[in-house]
Symmetry: C2
Subunit: 113 residues, 2 copies
């Protein structure tokens, strides 16, 4: 099934996981398989962040599409930019912060164990 760009639903989460500002979600597919929880583009304006949190029973994959940021990957803090990828497996944690002057856009998919 095709979901056109114009038909993709959007939503906003304020102070996500204790982070700053808000995150805009674009839900790419109108339907997902049972083992997927999201297949979304997340847009963080400059200064926006998603606070540190741990995933249990699922893995989240991030593909950074545009912008620059800083992530925490368990206990490591790393600068990221477009083209980089981050995998957060079950039992591991992460946070994301837009440290640039432009939007930070990433594609996120969550796959249940």
């Amino acid at each position: 099934m095709i979901t056109r760009k114009a038909d993709q639903k959007k939503s906003v989460r304020e102070n996500m996981r204790g982070g700053n500002e808000y995150v805009q979600f674009t839900h790419l597919s109108a339907e997902l398989p049972e083992k997927a929880r999201i297949f979304d583009i997340l847009t963080l304006i400059p200064g926006a962040s998603i606070g540190y949190h741990v995933h249990e029973g699922e893995t989240e994959l991030f593909y950074f599409m545009e912008g620059t940021g800083r992530v925490q990957d368990d206990d490591q803090v790393v600068e990221i930019s477009a083209g980089d990828c981050m995998a957060t497996f079950s039992g591991h944690g992460h946070s994301v912060e837009n440290t640039g002057n432009t939007d930070l856009k990433l594609l996120a998919v969550i796959i249940k164990d």
Copy 2:
């Protein structure tokens, strides 16, 4: 875990599923969870295609990042462009063809049932 753009492995498949030319794969993450089979960017040069094939026991999600193309979605043929999404669930089939003058780039993830 972070996989830097510069460290992402690439591979090429010629005449994929009976299609034209070749498809370049960029394997975004050095490791995947058990329920994921690929998390890749696929690049099709103008004229390249992936022939029609059916997925069984898994779902493939495509997010079209750049370019224009034509897909077959079961028995429907549809023109797609950047921002569109395609979900091919277990028991369903698809094909992809780059009909434009520039590369067609899509992000693909396969999630096992």
